[in-house]
Amino acid sequence: MSPVVGLARRAIVRWEALLVVMILAAGVWSWTLSSFFLRRANLLDLATPYIFIGLVAFGLTFVVVAGEIDISVMSIMAVAAVSIAEIWSAGVDVWLAALAGLGVAVVLGLANGLLVGLLDVPSLAVTLGTLAAYRGLAYVILGGSSISGLPTGFTDVGGGYISNELPDALLVLLAFALVLGVLLHATRFGRYLYAIGSTREVARFSGIPVARVRVTIFAISGLMAGFAAIVYLGFFGSVQADAASGSELIDVVTAVVLGGVDIFGGSGSILGVLLALILIAVLRNGMQLANLGGATQDMVIGGLLVAAILAGNVLRGAQSRGLPWTRARYARKEVTQAETPGVHSSGT
C-alpha cells in the first residue's frame, strides 16, 4: 500500500515541480522576446485576462476529481453574466443583480447535477446538451445586443487595481484558491470526491452519500461560473450573449488537465490547476509578444491539452507497470518484498 502512495505522491510533487519549470522556461522565452516581460507591473498583470478562466477551472476541478465532466461551464457563465447585466439595466442595484446572477448559475449547475446524480445520465451527454441549451438561454435573454457601462465599484472586482499595480482580480483568484484548496484537500467532503472519483461503487458501499455529493459538485461548478461572470463583467466592462463561446472552454479544460487532475477522476490538486493557469497565461502572453494570432495560440493550447493527457497516461502506465526498460527490475523488487514481509513499509 504505502509504496503505491509514496510513488503517487512523488509523481504529483514532480508534476507540480514540472509545471514550475515549464512556467520558468516560458518566462525566459517571453523575456528574450521582450524585456518588458520582466517588469513588475507586467508580471502582476499577466494573469488578469485569465482570472475568470481560473475561477471556472477551480469549479471544474471538483467535478473532474469526482470522475465527472462539465463542459457547460462557459455557457453557465454567459447566462450569469447576461442575467446580471440585464437585471442591473432594469434598475436594480448591481450587487443585488450579482447575487441573482450567482443564484441563476447555481440553479443551472444544479440542473446538470440532478440529471447526473439522481437519474444517472452520463455527465458528458448532459453537459454537452446544456452547453448548447444554456448558450441558447443567454441569447434568448439578451438577444443580439450588448450591455455595458456597469458602475465602477462593481467592475473593479475584475478590472480594478490597488495602487495602480496589483490587480484586484488576482487577489480574488488567490482567495478562491485558498478557500477551495481547503475545501478539496482538508475536509471530509473533499476526500469523498477522491473516493468517488477512484471507484464509485466502493465509495457507495463505504457509506458515502454518492448521489448527494455528485449533485453538489455540479452546483459548485455552477457557482464558480457565477463568480467568474462577475470578474468577466469587470474585466471586459460589457457583455454579449456569445461571451466566452470560443477557445475559453478549451483553456478551462486545459488548465484542469494540465494541472495534473486525472481526467478519469480520483486525483488532482488546486495548486496544480493554479500553476497550469499561470503557465497558460505566460504562454499566451509570450505568443502575443511573438505576434502569433489567436487561432495559432488556440492550436498550441489544444496541443498542450492533448499532450498533458498523453503524458498522464504514460505516467500512469509507468506507475502500474513500470517503464518498458525498468519492468524487469520492478518485477524483481516485488519478489524480494514478498519474500521478506515488513521491508516494504519501511522502504519508502
Binding site: I69, D120, A132, D298, L310
Partner: protein
C-alpha cells in the same frame, strides 16, 4: 408448466420492440410537425420549400452517418464541424484557383482531408487513450486553427468558382436536389454496412461492452480508429457539400455544425451509452430537426431559440435513454428469473 425458453424470447422481443418504438416515435413526431407547420405556415407545404429542407438536411445526414458509427462505439466526435470547415475551404479555394480540376476528384480530395483528420482523432482516442470528448474538443480547436492558417481570414466568393460547380446545388434529378441524392446514397450504404458488415457489427459490440468485446477478440483499437476515420471522411464530404450548397466559404464555415449533427444522432435514437441505434432513426432525427428549424424560420420565431431548442432536445433525449435503459434492464431481469428458477427445482426430481 411453462416452457423454459419462452420468457427469454419475449424479453428479446421486448428489447427490439423498444427500439422499433423509438423510430416509430420519431416518425410520428415528424408527421405531426409537418401537419402542424402545413396548417400554421402558409408557405411550408410547397415543393420548393421541401426541396430546401432536403438540401439543408442532406449535409447533416451525411456527417451524422459517420457520427453514428463513432457514438455506437461509446465515443463522440466533436470535431466534425471543424473538419467540414477545413475541407469546405480547401475545396472552394482549390476550385477557385484551378478551374480545371474535375469535381469528382475534388470531392475525393475533400474526403481524403477528412479521413486524415479522423485518423488523428481515432489514434488519440484508441491508442492515446484520451477520452473522446476531450480529444475531439482539442482537435475541434486545432482543426479550426488550421482553417485560419489556410485561409488567413480570406473568403471564397461564389463568382470565383467554376460554373459547373455553381450549378450543382440547383440540379434536381427526378425532382430531388443533387445533395439529397448524395445523402440518400450515403445513408443507404451506411445503413447496409451497419446492418451486415461484420466489422461494423463490431461497433455495436464495442459500444455495448468494450471489455466483453475485447474478451471475444474484437480488435477494439482498430475498430474505434475505423469509426473515427469514417466520421472524419464523411465530415470531409460534408464540407464539400457545404461548399456546393453555399458557395460562399470563409473561416467560420460550419462552425457549431457539430451540434446539428449530434442533435440529429441523439434524437434519432442512437444511445449515447453506445451499442444501439440505426441509420433510419438518425435520418428521421435529422429530418425532424431540419423540419422544426425550417418551420421556426417560416413562422418568424427568433433564430436564438434554435440553439436553446437543440440543446434541450439533446438533454431530453439522453435522459429518456438513461431512464429507458434502467426500465429495459429491470424488465429483462424480471423475465429471466422465472425461466431459471423452475429448472433448478426440477433438477432433483
Amino acid at each position: 408448466m411453462k416452457a423454459p425458453g419462452r420468457p427469454a424470447v419475449s424479453a428479446q422481443t421486448l428489447v427490439s420492440a423498444v427500439f422499433r418504438l423509438r423510430e416509430l416515435g420519431i416518425g410520428i413526431a415528424l408527421l405531426l410537425t409537418v401537419v402542424l407547420f402545413s396548417v400554421r405556415a402558409t408557405n411550408f407545404a410547397t415543393v420548393s420549400n421541401w426541396q430546401d429542407i432536403a438540401s439543408d438536411v442532406a449535409v447533416v445526414i451525411v456527417v451524422a452517418v459517420g457520427e453514428t458509427m463513432v457514438v455506437l462505439t461509446r465515443n463522440i466526435d466533436l470535431s466534425v464541424g471543424s473538419i467540414a470547415g477545413l475541407s469546405a475551404y480547401l475545396s472552394a479555394e482549390t476550385l477557385s484557383t484551378h478551374h480545371g480540376v474535375p469535381i469528382v476528384v475534388m470531392a475525393l480530395i475533400a474526403v481524403g482531408v477528412g479521413l486524415a483528420a479522423g485518423l488523428v482523432n481515432g489514434l488519440l482516442v484508441a491508442v492515446g487513450r484520451i477520452p473522446a470528448i476531450i480529444a475531439t474538443l482539442a482537435t475541434l480547436s486545432i482543426y479550426r486553427g488550421l482553417v485560419f492558417q489556410a485561409t488567413g481570414g480570406d473568403y471564397v466568393f461564389p463568382n470565383e468558382l467554376p460554373q459547373s460547380f455553381q450549378n450543382l446545388a440547383a440540379e434536381k434529378p427526378l425532382g430531388l436536389p443533387f445533395l439529397a441524392w448524395v445523402a440518400l446514397g450515403v445513408a443507404l450504404v451506411g445503413g447496409a454496412v451497419l446492418r451486415w458488415a461484420p466489422w461494423a457489427r463490431d461497433f455495436y459490440a464495442i459500444g455495448s461492452s468494450p471489455e466483453a468485446a475485447r474478451l471475444v477478440a474484437v480488435p477494439v483499437v482498430r475498430r474505434v480508429i475505423t469509426a473515427f476515420a469514417i466520421s472524419g471522411a464523411l465530415a470531409g464530404l460534408g464540407g464539400f457539400m457545404f461548399a456546393v450548397r453555399f458557395a460562399n466559404v470563409d473561416t467560420n464555415t460550419a462552425r457549431g455544425f457539430e451540434f446539428d449533427v449530434i442533435t440529429a444522432v441523439v434524437i434519432g435514437g442512437v444511445n449515447v451509452f453506445g451499442g444501439s441505434g440505426t441509420i433510419l432513426g438518425v435520418t428521421l432525427g435529422a429530418l425532424l430537426v431540419a423540419t422544426i428549424d425550417n418551420g421556426f424560420t417560416l413562422l418568424k420565431f427568433s433564430e436564438f431559440w434554435k440553439i436553446f431548442f437543440e440543446g434541450t432536445a439533446i438533454v431530453v433525449a439522453v435522459t429518456l435513454d438513461a431512464l429507458l435503459k434502467g426500465r429495459v434492464q429491470d424488465a429483462l431481469r424480471r423475465r429471466r428469473r422465472p425461466a431459471s428458477i423452475p429448472r433448478e427445482q426440477e433438477a432433483p426430481a
